[in-house]
């Protein structure tokens, strides 16, 4: 092959299996990912509390959204009960740290493991039913778990909620948002790298096979039951991590926070971001976290005096989320990740787009 500058390749060609199996499609993508993590590492130095708060929100919701994407986007199972697992993670971590001497930093993965166990149990019916029936079953599990949160006072504090202590590791307590940001970033990087790698393993490919054509998958020797339940378990693990971070960040966990509405928001993140895309989960989360903020900003911009509009803000946010879901499904069903890919391809092939 001639030297690179004389014949620049137009487009992205993979010539070996190794090249096809890398986490990052191009060296540039890898460098951008590393650079953005480095950039986030120094960002607390110049970000104010408001923006830092948004980043932390994107972090813990993003982890949970990736979990939901594994079950919905990669395995093709529908779950309407993700918020309940998110809540279970928050309550469990708060409960473990309040009732034992384990530092909070370690109760987060412990809580996630317990959430995963519950997810595996809820996932058992998922092995038998699919599609629509599964959506309805998970809807029921959402209500049942929500009811459990409101009732189990020994565990969740009932209607008054539970206190969650701030993150501590080896005796250091981290009260400030800045130090918490690093904790969230740590988990986000770990969980996203794990998520991207999961899809390169045997199990990850089995998930995709189950999604694409479950009959063929079964004929090829993939144990449908096992992988359907497993994907529920992994997704609950992610939800548990996200929920535990959420609980310790707010310092207070209340049963009212984990309603069907939050489950729908998680689904919206996954769909807007792009089903079956690891980066899409993050993009969708960014969209869904920023959307209410933008609505709030817009409302204050239009009528800072008119209190009617400000009072209706909660409803306007709800409408905006609903509308975003509908518009994305009609006009961009593959989500932001797909749109991003198209933009990239356009520039990659720039002068010769055919």
């Amino acid at each position: 092959m001639a030297s690179a500058h004389s014949r620049m390749r137009c487009g992205e060609f993979r010539t070996t299996y190794q090249a096809d199996l890398t986490i990052f499609p191009t060296p540039l993508a890898r460098r951008v990912a590393v650079a953005s993590v480095l950039f986030l590492l120094i960002s607390p130095l110049f970000l104010d509390a408001y923006h830092l708060n948004l980043l932390i929100q994107i972090g813990y919701y993003g982890i949970a959204a990736l979990g939901l994407n594994i079950v919905v986007g990669f395995t093709g199972q529908i779950s309407l009960g993700h918020a309940a697992f998110f809540g279970l993670g928050a309550f469990t971590s708060a409960w473990i740290s309040n009732n034992s001497g384990i530092p909070v930093f370690f109760t987060i993965p412990l809580a996630a493991l317990l959430t995963m166990a519950v997810g595996l149990i809820v996932g058992i019916p998922a092995g038998r039913i699919k599609g629509l029936y599964l959506a309805i079953a998970t809807l029921a599990s959402q209500y049942i778990l929500e009811d459990f949160f409101a009732r189990a006072e020994w565990f969740t504090g009932g209607s008054s909620g539970a206190m969650a202590s701030p993150v501590s590791i080896f005796g250091y307590e981290m009260y400030s948002d800045k130090s918490f940001f690093y904790i969230v970033l740590f988990y986000v990087v770990i969980m996203y790298v794990a998520g991207a790698n999961l899809m390169r393993t045997r199990d990850g490919r089995a998930f995709i096979a189950v999604r694409d054509h479950y009959l063929s998958a079964e004929i090829m020797g993939i144990n449908l039951n096992k992988y359907r339940i497993l994907s529920f378990g992994i997704s609950s693990f992610y939800a548990g991590i996200g929920g535990a971070l959420f609980g310790h960040y707010l310092g207070f966990v209340s049963a009212e926070g984990f309603t069907l509405m939050l489950s729908i928001q998680f689904l919206a993140m996954v769909i807007i971001g792009g089903l079956g895309s690891v980066m899409g989960a993050m993009l969708g989360t960014i969209f869904m976290v920023l959307l209410p903020e933008v609505m709030e900003y817009g409302v204050h911009l239009v009528g800072s005096q008119s209190s009617a509009l400000t009072q209706a803000l909660a409803y306007i946010k709800e409408m905006a989320i609903g509308l975003a879901i509908i518009l994305f499904l009609i006009f961009e069903p593959d989500g932001l990740a797909h749109r991003w890919k198209m933009i990239k391809n356009y520039w990659k092939l720039y002068p010769f787009s055919y």
Binding site: I78, I129, A140, Y143, L260, L267, I271, Y315, K317
Partner: protein, 297 residues
């Protein structure tokens, strides 16, 4: 044991159950003919009840004018919704279709709360007497009317699907879309009509419930309660919807009774149907009357 309370609760359960049955029938109608799982069924009740409330209270129309106008509005609403939002979703995967109706449900809940506020508002009284005594039991007049209306709707559905041209076209479409299309049935019209009928009948149920309990966002929860009903009866069975509605209506009142007498868990009224749902899905996922999916390779 308090037998009088038990009897009263069972009667209440049957009355509420007929309403569940009607709403479930609307749900099944949409599912059967268009294969869309409508998570926004509860919002149909909500919008219908609020529209009727606005007609009666804001515009001060008499009931016999305002109520038919509500139904006309809902018919147009159903058709517009189908054409604008659901038609582009034909052929999309099931998750997209489910999510689009969930999005609709959120959007309309926000919109309705924005317009009418988040508080319960009472319907103007339509009947002179609030309740009548039958055999020592108090039954509200609106409940009696609701049972009468529900039974009339059910009979109307029966004749509609048995004899009318559109009803037959709907059954044909539900049976096999391609064959129906090749026989000259306009599947487009069938889809629009099923949404329109579903919206109108749901609104009717919404108005009836609104008369008894007042109009509030809580009405849309009926749309969620429909799921245990249709799973019990079978997703694509109209008879199943009615039977399931009655059973779930009685079940939740019985659960309430046992809870208040012995268990004291609280909130059983709302949660018991979901436990029932999970159990049914585990042992008989296609419900009592639903057709079993048989897949051939």
């Amino acid at each position: 044991m308090n037998y009088e309370l038990l009897l009263q609760l069972i009667i209440n359960g049957l009355i509420v159950g007929t309403l569940y049955g009607v709403v479930a029938m609307c749900f099944v109608l949409i599912y059967k003919s268009t294969r869309v799982v409508n998570f926004a069924q509860g919002e149909f009740l909500l919008i219908g009840a609020w529209t009727c409330w606005a007609m009666l209270v804001k515009f001060e129309l008499p009931f016999y004018v305002g109520f038919p106008l509500t139904l006309v509005f809902m018919m147009v609403f159903g058709v517009v919704l189908q054409v604008l939002v659901l038609r582009p979703m034909i052929g999309e995967p099931i998750i997209s279709v489910i999510m689009v109706t969930i999005g609709l449900s959120m959007f309309f809940q926000g919109l309705v709360s924005w317009i009418f506020g988040g508080y319960t508002k009472a319907f103007p009284t339509v009947f002179e007497t609030a309740s009548v005594k039958i055999g020592g039991l108090h039954i509200e007049t609106a409940y009696i009317m609701s049972v009468v209306v529900s039974v009339v709707i059910m009979i109307a559905f029966y004749f509609f699907f048995k004899y009318s041209r559109m009803g037959l076209a709907m059954r044909a479409t539900a049976f096999d879309q391609q064959i129906a299309q090749s026989l000259g049935i306009s599947v487009k019209h069938v889809f629009a009509a099923s949404w329109a009928i579903s919206a109108v009948v749901s609104a009717l149920a919404g108005v009836v419930i609104g008369m008894v309990n007042g109009v509030s966002s809580a009405l849309s929860f009926i749309g969620i309660k429909v799921f245990p009903v249709v799973i019990l009866g079978g997703l694509d069975s109209i008879v199943g919807a009615i039977v399931g509605g009655l059973m779930i209506g009685v079940l939740e009142n019985l659960a309430e009774f046992f809870d208040s007498q012995w268990l004291h868990f609280g909130n059983m009224y709302n949660i018991a149907p979901f436990y029932a749902l999970v159990i049914i899905l585990m042992i008989k996922p296609y419900g009592l009357f639903g057709t079993k999916d048989i897949e051939r390779i």
